[in-house]
Amino acid sequence: MDNQNLKKKFIKGNKRAFDTIYSDYSNAMYSVCLRYTKNTDEAADMLQNAFIKIYENRKSFNTEFELGSWIKRIVINTAIDHYNKNKKMILVQDESYFETEVETTIEVEASNQLKVQLLTTISLLPDGYRTIFNLYVFENLTHQEIATHLNISVNTSKSQLSRARKMLKITLEKQNIIKQKKSNAERA
């Protein structure tokens, strides 16, 4: 089944086409879901909801566009919806916390488990921090866009991101996964 044919059959609701698409994208999308959730069960639920949306909204898909990006967009929207639905408290407009972020080089010990360790570290973040960090770092959204999606102010988005970064650094350093490398100036 070639790509264009696959898209057409998928739009018509063909199960085999849907199965093929699921087979092609489910693993990557599940990994995206894992970044936005605390645990695998929550990620599985998110993935399921995303693919239900994908199937139900298949007729709105334009075959001229890339299927993968359309699917990813739906998955990210599902993650944002998930966050908005489950947030128990409104993020406090905390604009005071802007720690000066010193650009330091990070040394990482390469290992097979590194990816899993990083993923686990993200899952330890509070929901708000995690979502903003993901949207900013992985989806390349601006603070303005994040603020619009999550219904928060731009400054809140910035401060949450800053806190998320700091928390991640501390956690990774405690686990001896990263080390701060001294700059040339400090060496001198």
Binding site: K15, R16, Y22, S23, S31, I52, V108, N112, K169
Partner: protein, 528 residues
């Protein structure tokens, strides 16, 4: 080995942006339940319902046709058949079982005496089958009773003489129909001693007084089981009556000229003939229920556009022995031809051994400052004073490193299919043995699947929901079966079935898998 990242964002982005992990199986199962539940239901039940419907129609139509034929021929034969009783030197009692009920009343008032010049025939009977018994031996025909019925004239003749044997010996017929014994109330047997002379024939007449009562009784005929008993009892009753009548045992009382050519003269069938004539209908359509369990020897062939992939699969996959279970319901036509359907469960499996090779490449960049020049004060054109600063040139040394890790996955890929076969075949009987050749087309529906697939240097786990095995397909096979009748209607059988490779058993994969299959089956059958 250490990597460097400028900041925490870069670290996460570089490590996790291309990260993939296998999604849980149950997600696809739940998706299928929510999105495709109805379609699956239809996919499974429509073929099953079609199959059941087809079998029901065949069974109903064949049963109905048999009944109709039976009743029609019963009514027809009542009007056309005669019972001929030639004079026999041996009493009929000795030839027939005389334990029949005396349901045929002999009433003197209704006796019809036929002239001895008339053919010696008696009419009776309502056969389901018109079995013609032709006897060439006139002596033999004299020793037998022939039974026929002529309700149109409201009279039936029981000839006790061999007068007509000269003309009718080559066209004697016996057509017998079972009807309720109560019909005997409407039949009277007349017997008469016409003459004690050897040249005078004796005629016994069975008079059918009331057609309506006979026809009414026909409705209550037991089609199958009562046929033989009725005929036996009926013929026995007649014989009893005839035997009791004072008929002389003349051997020479043959009137060669006085045979009614309009009458159908029948030689009385023997017990075995009677039996065979009534079991014929039931043997015309038979049924065979069988259960077979077989051992499958499979031989997979893999092909792909990329021959390396195909070779990899061929080398790393080993077919396993599997079992196959089938239940068949077959219709046997004329004891030779077989058509039927059924349901079964089959399994395909093979052992795999895949190596997943993970290659990770990363670059290390070393920057160093190398002295380039001194900077002097602008007014120190002669550079007499020490330099105020130095110029360093940055050099970037980038090294690409590659690390490879290999993981071997061993396991079994398996798929279970529910199948609905349709088969036609031919049966040949040799004493207690029966040899059958069947051609078979099967609809296979995936019931369960599990395993892993190696594709594009990645190992993908699958289950029923994202199986590499096709969710449904047709296959064809030929089968030869040897049946042994070891007890009454029960047969033991052994079969060999060959399913040639026609279909790709994989779906949505760059690899094609075709399956050659030999099945050696054993089972038990019930034929009736």
């Amino acid at each position: 080995m250490q990597k460097e990242h400028n900041n925490i964002d870069e670290l996460f982005k570089s490590e996790l942006s291309d990260f993939e992990t296998v999604a849980p199986f149950f997600v696809k199962q739940q998706l299928d339940k929510k999105l495709f539940k109805k379609k699956k239901f239809i996919l499974f039940f429509i073929p099953t319902l079609l199959c059941i419907g087809l079998i029901s129609i065949i069974l109903y139509s064949t049963t109905n046709t048999t009944k109709k034929i039976s009743q029609t021929s019963t009514q027809n034969s009542l009007k056309t058949q005669t019972i001929d009783k030639p004079n026999t030197p041996t009493p009929l009692k000795k030839k027939r079982n005389t334990n029949a009920n005396n349901n045929i009343n002999s009433t003197d008032n209704s006796h019809v005496i036929q002239n001895s010049t008339k053919p010696k025939q008696s009419n009776i009977g309502t056969p389901t089958h018109s079995t013609t018994v032709v006897k060439n031996n006139s002596k033999e025909s004299q020793n037998k009773n022939s039974i026929s019925a002529t309700p149109s004239t409201s009279s039936a003749l029981v000839g006790n003489n061999g007068l007509n044997s000269a003309k009718s010996k080559n066209k004697q017929k016996s057509t017998i129909t079972p009807f309720n014994n109560n019909v005997n109330n409407a039949i009277d047997i007349s017997k008469n001693d016409l003459s004690k002379s050897e040249n005078i024939s004796k005629t016994h007449t069975v008079s059918i007084q009331n057609d309506i009562s006979i026809n009414a009784n026909l409705d209550s005929i037991e089609i199958n089981n009562t046929k033989e008993t009725f005929i036996d009892s009926l013929s026995n009753n007649l014989q009893t009556k005839i035997a009791k009548s004072p008929i002389p045992t003349s051997k020479d009382g043959i009137n060669k000229t006085e045979t009614n050519s309009d009458s159908i003269v029948s030689a009385p069938p023997t017990d075995s003939e009677l039996h065979s004539s009534f079991t014929n209908t039931s043997k015309h359509i038979g049924y065979l229920f069988s259960w077979t369990t077989g051992l499958n020897l499979s031989n997979s062939t893999y092909s792909s556009e990329n021959s390396l992939d195909a070779n990899y699969f061929q080398a790393n996959n080993t077919d396993k022995l599997n079992f196959d279970h089938n239940i068949y319901a077959d219709l046997i036509v004329k004891d030779k031809f077989l058509i039927g359907s059924g349901i079964g469960l089959s399994k395909q499996s093979y052992a795999y051994s895949y190596d997943e090779i993970l290659t990770t490449s990363f670059t290390t960049t070393d920057t160093s400052l190398i002295f380039s020049n001194y900077i002097y004060a602008s007014n120190d054109t002669l550079q007499e004073f020490p330099p105020i600063d130095s110029i360093y040139q940055m050099t970037i040394d980038t090294t690409t490193n590659t690390s490879t890790s290999k993981t071997t996955y061993n396991g079994v890929n398996q798929a279970q299919y529910v199948h609905i076969p349709f088969q036609i075949g031919y049966l040949h009987k040799i004493n207690k043995l029966m040899i059958g050749i069947q051609a078979n087309i099967r609809y296979n529906l995936l019931y369960n699947a599990s395993g892993r697939l190696y594709e594009n240097n990645k190992i993908k786990a699958f289950d029923k929901t994202n199986s590499i095995f096709k969710t449904s397909y047709f296959d064809v096979s030929i089968k030869t079966t040897l049946y042994y009748n070891f007890y009454e209607k029960i047969f033991l059988h052994g079969s060999i079935k060959y399913t040639p490779k026609l279909n790709n058993t994989f779906q949505n994969s760059t690899i094609k898998r075709e399956l050659n299959n030999y099945q050696f089956g054993l089972g038990i059958s019930y034929k009736f």
